[in-house]
Amino acid sequence: MSFINYASREINCKIVYYGPGLCGKTTNLQYIYQRTNPEIRGKMISLATETERTLFFDFLPLALGSIRGFKVRFHLYTVPGQVFYDASRKLILKGVDGVIFCADSQLARLEADCESLENLRFNLQEQGYDLDRLPHVVQYNKRDLPSIAPLHEMRALLNPRGAPDFEAVASAGRGVFDTLKAAARLVLIELKKGQGG
């Protein structure tokens, strides 16, 4: 649900990073924060436990520039990935414009990836969204680690409908901006459709 202010000529959109615990959602945001010009980004907020596990959400506002005289702002959120924080995940999905599903490529985490995707689908449905119709992008993270699942297998399991997808090593920045750009693009295209374009 974007917020369009004709008076101040601003568009605000919300993108949520979703995925299983320790898949690298927060790492994506941290990399974006580090590599973005301070003029276009706000403060990054992390509501995390003492052991740096996300407790409620991370938040990073980005003011990317202007389109047709409107300032375009993206608010990036992550959800807490651990299974028992489901109530918090539901809250953060409210009003989402686009989702980035961040998967952990390690074979041992494939089942957690599938469960998280199922959880995403279910939580979206509860709020009247359909993942297949919502702008979304898939990121296969941690491609640098040993014992990772082959790409075709991950695609078959996590992206059967062929949404834009990217291999990534978020800790080194690989694939991070490609993923974000793809999601932002889909959100803006959806906005264009929604406005009768």
């Binding site: 649900m1 004709y6 990317l64 389109i67 009247g128 693009r185 374009g197």
Partner: protein, 169 residues
């Protein structure tokens, strides 16, 4: 697609909202008053907000309201519509306006919780009326787009691939 429609504010509505928020700040003798969308987007801010990270404030306020709403539902309540946080210097009064926006008042010892609550109640009613009108306008606009008779060209209808690429240069 989306579970709820986009929030679209036009010039006149925005001016009414800012005027009401400013009036509340004055009459409650508050330091700062914010209006935030339930999804964490800042709609309007008035008062001495220089040096304040209003974007973060908006996002955390919405998170706070969302978490409290979750607690309310667990207890079988519809929602807790007012939150109050007391600090050593500044206090925070957070309340829901309708089911869509959050009114945040930051105040100090120059006023009182009682006065803030009183003024918030009246302003909430006024703001609720404005947002009902915003929703009606949006409903009419959607119907016009659906029927193919939208009379005003949306600036977003013209977005090109190049515009999007330029954002990331």
């Amino acid at each position: 697609m989306g579970a709820s429609a986009d929030l679209v504010l036009h010039e006149g509505e925005f001016r009414q909202i800012v005027a009401e928020v400013e009036r509340l700040r004055r009459e409650a003798n508050a330091k700062v008053v914010f209006l935030v969308d339930k999804n964490g987007q800042l709609i309007a801010a008035t008062g001495d907000d220089a040096g304040m990270d209003t974007t973060s404030l908006a996002s955390l306020t919405a998170g706070n309201i969302a978490a409290t709403g979750g607690l309310a539902r667990l207890l079988g309540e519809k929602e807790f519509s007012i939150l109050f946080h007391e600090g050593e210097r500044d206090n925070l009064h957070i309340s829901l306006v309708g089911d869509r926006v959050i009114l945040v008042v930051i105040f100090d010892a120059r006023t009182s919780l009682g006065l803030v609550r009183l003024r918030v109640r009246r302003s909430s009613e006024n703001l609720e009326r404005v947002f009902e009108e915003v929703q009606r306008t949006a409903g009419r606009a959607r119907a016009a787009v659906g029927a193919g008779v939208a009379d005003t060209a949306s600036p977003f209808a013209e977005i090109t691939e190049e515009d999007i690429d330029n954002l990331f240069r």
